[in-house]
Symmetry: C2
Subunit: 251 residues, 2 copies
């Protein structure tokens, strides 16, 4: 299985906004056992969005897009998704009804601007928006969600149970006072002996003492343990107080 994220938004590419959606989706996918293969961030431009979604939809099992489904002129995601998959937008009756119902609770009426958010590609399935009414949608293997983080999160948690359940990625982290260059060669040997365990090495910079976190990831608990023991032994040769953190998926 392979998943991709497509972030649509000039506000990320201009540096105005710090993206936080990638990390949220990445963490949830790791827990679900769905490997995240790639992320792309593109501008609010038709060709850029269409090219990216077609490419990712073809190369991945799931694509999660965020951004560009609001009521304003720069919200072009629904249009692009329809064009990317050779269909058209229509006012979706169920989406309109949800918007009207949400607006009633706020003592407001659905106007022409708000109604734009009921424009959904023909054939797409709606994604619930537990925060502000306006739904996302699924078209083919692409889940089209809002860019505002709390809305995106609400939408994602709703679709999560519909996704395939992979083998959750298990991980252990060993953090010790050692330099990467001191362990690089030995660690490479351990990595070669344990090809089903991915070993990542992340130095912490800025402190007074050297520190590195070695993250071991695998879907196989026994293989993970075997590699972890060797890495722990290696690090403790340099730092007897190295800390091992076992991170398990929930449940």
């Amino acid at each position: 299985m392979r998943a991709a994220i497509l972030i649509i938004g000039n506000e990320i590419l201009s540096g105005r906004t710090q993206d936080v959606n990638i990390k949220f989706i990445a963490e949830r996918l790791a827990l679900r056992g769905i490997p995240l293969a790639e992320v792309r961030i593109v501008r609010d431009e038709e060709k850029a969005v269409i090219d990216a979604v077609r490419s990712l939809s073809e190369s991945c099992d799931y694509v999660f897009s965020t951004g560009g489904i609001g009521p304003t002129h720069d919200d072009i995601t629904a249009d692009c998704m329809a064009k990317a998959f050779n269909t058209k937008l229509e006012i979706n009756a169920e989406a309109k009804s949800r918007l009207v119902n949400y607006y009633v609770t706020k003592n407001r009426e659905l106007n022409e601007g708000g109604l734009r958010m009921a424009r959904i590609p023909i054939g797409a399935a709606l994604i619930d928006n537990p925060v502000s009414g306006a739904p996302g949608f699924r078209i083919k293997n692409v889940f089209v969600m809002a860019g505002v983080p709390n809305i995106m999160q609400g939408m994602f948690l709703g679709i999560e149970p519909t996704l395939a359940q992979g083998k959750p990625l298990l991980s252990n982290t060993i953090t010790g006072a050692v330099r990467e260059s001191e362990i690089a060669i030995e660690m490479e040997g351990i990595q070669k002996q344990h090809p089903d365990v991915e070993i990542g090495s992340y130095p912490a910079m800025g402190g007074t003492a050297p520190s590195v976190s070695l993250v071991l990831r695998s879907v196989d608990e026994k293989k993970l343990e075997a590699a972890t023991q060797k890495i722990v032994k290696m690090v403790k040769n340099f730092d007897a107080d190295a800390v091992v953190t076992y991170q398990r998926p929930p449940g």
Copy 2:
């Protein structure tokens, strides 16, 4: 001009690490007047890195990569860059000398692990690392930098004066207590009248009152002002206390 960022790192795609490099580079490029067209985040896998760098190098004037140039087995960026551009790695004498000199200041010797960081594609130019010695490099139109944020920032600020100087993007922001759906239609009309000004609409969620920030961006100050006046008037019809922020590039 078009620039792209290529983030190389499983730690971002696993959700372990919150990326902060995109925002830093994006802001600096905006100030330099170099539009950031696209960002890709790929895994530490040879094919993924090579495919992405070739694609971005061809479609963009500049590519800025971060991550994967340390001494450990998962640092495969230099190898991938050499392969992507049909050259080979060699121990770069200048890079080795810089590493030795840096290590001397730390009372350490350059070992086999550390020496890996002197492996640079033949023909590449070095990028200074003012933080920890080990250089990045430029190959063709690709600037290959570290992933650790403070090192990446030091490297980027060093190469920045060598980049072309575009027209800096100017921006004004109008923030008011109004709903996007209330202004969507009128704002679309203003956008159509001002095609050289990009108008982005970003709702703030979670507060008790509705709030939206409208960001106008242009390289042309007069056109920016003309569009800003119309947007300010539109927003003040809803919220007389709307706030206008003029953001200008430095200098």
